[in-house]
Amino acid sequence: MKIYHDEIMRLAKCRDSSGRLDDGSHACLQNPLCGDECTLYVRLRDGLITAARHETRGCILCQAAVVRLIQLSRQTPSLAAMAELARAFDTALREGSALPPMLELFTPVAARRSRHRCVLLPYQALLQIAESSAERFLEPRA
């Protein structure tokens, strides 16, 4: 099962970023094809993601994707940078080009058009947060 490789399965089982954040921004998106539902919560300050959690009822790919997103937001907390990554992920899947290096683990999914939305759902949620947030105008402080 190429798309369900060990790293994807490990991420999908990871629960340490599950939960809500009662203060901050959130976006809830659904995949009408399969019923995946992902709510992403982020706390923002000065253009930085200071905390992120999720409540996801979804397939393994969706679970893995949101956990990976939250991991990356800890490494690169800039909201603008994460939004850029989300757009690059979407474009790469649509165009069939190489995925951003940090998302290469999803490369087997690229050939499976029907599963793109499963992995993109959390990133689209992040984009929705970014586009509705006043923080998007802020460059993170050095």
């Binding site: 369900y4 399969c34 019923g35 995946d36 397939c59 393994i60 599963r115």
Partner: protein
């Protein structure tokens, strides 16, 4: 009489796609495969008789007129209906939208339309759109143990005295079948009964005038015909009473800058260039379906084998477990998303569907996010069932 194995081989040999690439195709409730007879009929029309209908006098136009008229005649005969009562549409969704729009125009605040929670979105959303526009209310009956909208409907008919009941003949997740005669007898005379036959017709050809329905719709692509064609049947007096919803060429007797006069049935409800080659395919499919009664026992036998096998799998639960036999079998696995199960099955060359099957209200009612649906046709066989059971077992082991 053929054995079940021989019978499925007989059907299977008629499906070119399965001959070219052996595959376990069990997603027939989404779209069925086309027999050679249907493919040949469509190709023959497009190769030899292609023209527009009701518009020209050249030989291609006359040939197209003839094949289109013959197609309607064949479909009508298969359903024991009058030709003028057979309206070709783009599909079941198109037919239901036409009816919701046309019937909805005469509904107003205080009027009620009765549906079931087991309906496909195509038999919910058009009514929701019209209800918002016109102010009438929708009421939903819970599905009964077979997964069909049944017993609670009878209670609600008495309570609400609806103007319209719109219901699936066979539901697309539970596979339960409603007793239309019972519904027709229970409803007030002035209540219209609209029936979505998308999942019934692939397995049985209904006698529409005797069914109790006032209107009946189904799609071609689910009953072994091409995409882009469906049927809306209505009792003649009901069709005559439908107000116009969409208009265009072919549906009129005359047009001036001041107005228009409608054409007679059925053309009045078929504006625009009709789906001629899909209609030819549908007629060929209806002829092919005439043999299907012989396959019913074998198909239900396979479904029963599948249910028994799934019951043995750990953490696996059938939906509507006590339902009468049906070609549709749906199940869930604790803690595993339906899409993931389908992915494992797809990896083993098995086509099934996972998700909410355009039946989100039913999923909410059942308290689940989605399920896996296996849907059978006469060309399925024991090897298909063996494959599903083996791969499902693997999926449970891998994904739990």
């Amino acid at each position: 009489m053929m054995s079940a194995t021989a019978a499925s081989g007989h059907w299977r040999r008629q499906i070119p796609l399965l001959q070219r690439q052996p595959y376990h195709y069990l997603d027939n409730a989404a779209t069925a495969l086309m027999p050679a007879a249907v493919l040949d009929a469509v190709r023959d029309y497009d190769d030899r008789n292609r023209g527009n209908v009701g518009r020209g006098v050249h030989r291609f136009a006359e040939a197209a007129d003839t094949v289109y008229s013959d197609a309607r005649q064949t479909v009508a005969a298969a359903l024991r209906a009058a030709e003028q009562e057979i309206i070709f549409t783009a599909g079941c969704t198109a037919g239901l939208n036409l009816l919701a729009n046309a019937l909805g125009q005469s509904l107003q605040p205080g009027d009620k339309v009765l549906l079931s929670l087991a309906e496909h979105h195509s038999n919910i959303v058009p009514w929701q759109i019209m209800a918002q526009r016109r102010g009438f209310t929708l009421h939903f009956a819970a599905p009964d143990g077979s997964g069909a909208g049944g017993r609670q409907l009878l209670t609600m008919i008495e309570r609400y005295q609806p103007r319209v009941i719109s219901i699936a003949h066979t539901t697309n997740v539970g596979g339960g079948t409603v007793d239309l005669a019972l519904l027709a007898a229970a409803k007030p005379a002035k209540t219209l009964l609209v029936v979505d036959g998308a999942q019934y017709v692939p397995h049985h050809l209904p006698d529409l005038p005797a069914s109790g329905a006032d209107f009946y719709v189904f799609s071609g692509h689910k009953c072994y015909a091409p995409n882009g064609i469906g049927v809306l049947w209505g009792r003649r007096e009901q069709l005559e009473a439908l107000p116009p919803v969409i208009g265009g060429g072919g549906a009129i007797a005359h047009v001036s800058s001041d107005g228009y006069g409608p054409a007679a049935l059925p053309q009045r409800l078929e504006p625009g260039t009709p789906p001629v080659s899909p209609a030819v395919g549908l007629a060929a499919a209806m002829r092919w379906c005439g043999q299907l009664a012989a396959a019913e026992g074998a198909v239900l036998g396979l479904a029963q084998r599948l249910r028994e096998g799934l019951r043995q799998l750990p953490h696996t639960h059938l939906l509507f477990d006590n339902a009468p036999p049906s070609p549709i079998v749906s199940f869930i696995v604790d803690g595993v998303h339906a899409h993931d199960i389908c992915e494992v099955l797809a990896d083993h060359e098995i086509a099934v569907r996972g998700g909410h099957h355009c039946a989100e209200p039913l999923m909410v009612h059942l308290g689940i996010g989605g399920c896996v649906r296996v849907s059978l046709a006469p060309y399925n066989n024991d090897a298909d069932i063996d494959a599903v059971l083996l791969a499902s077992e693997k999926a449970v082991r891998l994904l739990r």
